[in-house]
Amino acid sequence: MSGTKLNRRGVLKAGGVIGAGLAMPTIFTSQARAYVNEPTGSDVVLGFNVPQSGAYADEGADELRAYELAVEHLNGGGDGGMLNTFSSKELQGNGILGKKVTYVTGDTQTKSDAARASAQSMIQKDGAIMITGGSSSGVAVAVQNLCQEVGVIFMAGLTHSNDTTGKDRKANGFRHFFNSEMSGRALAPILEANYGTDRNAYHLTADYNWGWTTEGAVKTYTESIGWNTTAAVRTPLGAGDFSQYITPVLNSGADTLILNHYGRDMVNSLTQAVQFGLRDRQVDGKDFVVVVPLYSRLMAQGAGENVKGIFGSTNWHWSLQDEGSKAFVQSFGTKYGFPPSQAAHTCYVQALLYADAAQRAGTFNPCGIVEALEDFEFDGLGNGPTLYRAEDHQCFKPVLVVKGKENPTSQYDLLEVVDVTPTEQITYAPDHPDFQGGELGNCNAGV
């Protein structure tokens, strides 16, 4: 019987072979990997980065519900929702490119650093191939930058600042939601028709990026219809009590208050403006009016009956009667028992658009997705014919002008659509001065 003789040379040889063997998969993987987190199994992981705590937690919860519904529909569950009305017929309810869609979630806390950290964790630890969600422009810009650096696609959630697809635009980032410029363009004609051309407007503006761009856009377009801007006062984010900012309005000579506030700030400032009797005032024979450039149904619920008769703009509303909106409201309402918010809608649509782009491109490679989404025209997702413009990755579609309903029939029936502003009216040039200062750059696949 001959046994194997263990000597120093043998040990070195065996060690070398084993070491090479262990290193082999890594070598192959790194050489074969075409892009970050390329899915190799039967699943593909999406990362839903939404505010699960903090001031926008309710909006985040609605976004998450929408994403879960989208995943269900992409995997062939439920009634299919907007897959049935989407103009692109690539998605068949068998996942994306034959892979079952799974997801992980992160909590943005509506803080840029926390949002980046949770997105990074989902990309690095969980293998998320795409990040989507959020309810703040600051968060959107931060996460978009991260996704560009790392090499994954970012499908923005609710972000309304011009900068997301303006000076901070990135090749890997895409926004379905409308923006401040579009709000200004959509609102001005309606304000002119209802309140005339001789108005003195007083702006109260949340003192951060979104507030500034919204104030800028609304000022530009209200001044273009002849309105005068009496004052534009910045208020600290989350001030709570805005009375000290509202009382100077009383003696300013202004007959219009424009609240460039969102979320809790909007609820509080509007409620307090009504308490100070602003809506019962008359200035030079004109009724005092309040305008809220960015409305959401969740905010309207918070402000209660104070929203009655107040104009604003919104990306989408559950009462729309197109086939896509009806299908989405039916799916969402049946599953959760209440209608979806505009945040839920934009997130659901973004998930579907990403999946469709991957399907059409035949790959999850971010550069393939970018190519598939750029200048993509689609319909049937609730906003009418829509274009994902290649120059800035911003969706162009009709914008809704809404008004607080005078006689709501339920706690959800708070806004009525008074105008659907056509796309041509809200479209601006890619080199518009308020959107300059940034470049898309090249897509990054992360390798």
């Binding site: 705590s53 903090g54 001031a55 926008y56 937690a57 309710d58 004052a231 006062v233 600290p236 989350g238 709570g240 009590d241 009375s243 000290q244 900012y245 009382t247 100077p248 009383l250 003696n251 300013s252 809790r264 609820v267 509080n268 409620t271 307090q272 308490q275 100070f276 009797g277 019962d280 005032r281 969740l298 905010m299 619920q301 918070g302 402000a303 209660g304 104070n306 559950w318 009462s319 409201v329 039916q330 309402g333 049946t334 209440f338 209608p339 029939t409 339920s410 959800y412 029936d413």
Partner: protein, 342 residues
């Protein structure tokens, strides 16, 4: 002149809230020596007592209205509150008064919560450093916040102002100004009067009742009062409950001014600590005076004319005043010698 008057009025209701919270904080600090960072959460819980009272009064039964449809196209389920069904218009008006009525709920809730907090958690930290007390009470505040968020969500929940107390008073007309030059919401005025009444009642209780006098004696010299055979700890625990009640009802009555949400306590907490420091640690009149003073100054600093001279002053004024007061009067406006000085 009218603008100045407006800002003074404006500062009164804000100052009322600061004064009541700071009064509660000072009561706890003066008696138990605890720096209670959960005090803002007590204000928030009080506010949610108003929300609960409103929901209780709005408990409804469903009637299906076949003539109307809901958002899914199904027959609309119309909710009718029981009190409205039982008492008609009177019932509907009861719902409008849910905020003042919530005081009936807030008082026992805050007593139980306050005493429970003190006996169950805070008493174990009396002999620990202030840093430990701050950490544990801050942690407790976050826990209370998250519990409220779990049950009520993160969005502000508007609370009704009774019809009779809606709208604004035109103070300017009484003072010779033009109509609508100096208007002030009725409810804010009610809140100011309520605050004066509550603060006055606490002061009378502490100054003119035997219980109050013993407590004040205990605040001045705990050991001597103990030697006299008085169980001062029990009285201090009761004062914790009283402080919680003052802060809780202040929160409940504030809800028509600021729609309650889970985070509202934190928004007030830091400001109220500054109020306590400016007023003087352990000084009840100091806390009240500083509350009103800072509320009014905060309002003034938001005037456009002031901000034109010093941009951004509205966001730092309270801290600036605190720095000035502490530099010139290290014990605060009415601080007592020996408090926090060892």
């Amino acid at each position: 002149m009218d603008a100045i008057l407006l800002q003074i009025l404006n500062g009164l209701d804000k100052g009322s809230a600061y004064a009541m919270i700071a009064l509660g904080l000072t009561l706890i600090f003066g008696t138990l020596g605890v720096v209670n960072f959960a005090h803002g959460a007590l204000f928030m819980i009080g506010a949610f007592c108003a929300v609960i009272m409103n929901r209780v009064l709005q408990l409804s039964y469903e009637v299906v209205d076949e003539t109307r449809v809901d958002f899914l196209g199904n027959p609309l389920k119309v909710q009718t509150p029981y009190v409205e069904a039982w008492f008609g218009e009177f019932g509907a008006s009861i719902i409008q008064y849910s905020v003042p009525m919530s005081i009936i709920l807030a008082i026992p809730v805050m007593i139980v919560l306050g005493i429970g907090m003190e006996r169950g958690l805070i008493k174990h930290f009396y002999k620990r450093p202030h840093a430990d007390q701050i950490l544990v009470t801050f942690g407790l505040a976050i826990v209370l916040q998250e519990i409220v968020k779990f049950f009520f969500g993160a969005n502000p929940i508007p609370q009704p102002t009774p019809d009779a107390l809606r709208g604004a008073i035109d103070f300017g007309v009484y003072l010779g100004f033009e109509a609508n030059a100096v208007v002030y919401p009725v409810w804010r005025f009610v809140y100011f009067v309520f605050a004066l009444g509550l603060i006055g009642a606490v002061m009378i209780f502490l100054n003119y009742t035997t219980f109050g006098m013993v407590v004040r004696a205990g605040m001045a010299d705990r050991e001597t009062v103990g030697i006299l055979g008085i169980d001062i700890d029990k009285r201090f625990t009761a004062m914790f409950g009283l402080a919680a009640v003052v802060t809780g009802v202040a929160g409940a009555m504030y809800t028509p001014i600021l729609s309650p949400d889970y985070h509202m306590g934190m928004d007030f907490l830091v400001l109220c600590f500054v109020v306590v420091v400016v007023g003087g640690m352990g000084s009840l009149p100091g806390a009240v005076a500083a509350g009103f003073l800072l509320g009014i100054l905060q309002s003034f600093s938001a005037m456009n004319e002031v901000k034109a001279i010093i941009p951004g002053i509205d966001q730092v004024i309270i801290y600036l005043i605190a720095v000035i007061v502490l530099l010139t009067r290290p014990r605060g406006l009415m601080g007592r010698k020996g408090v926090m000085e060892e």
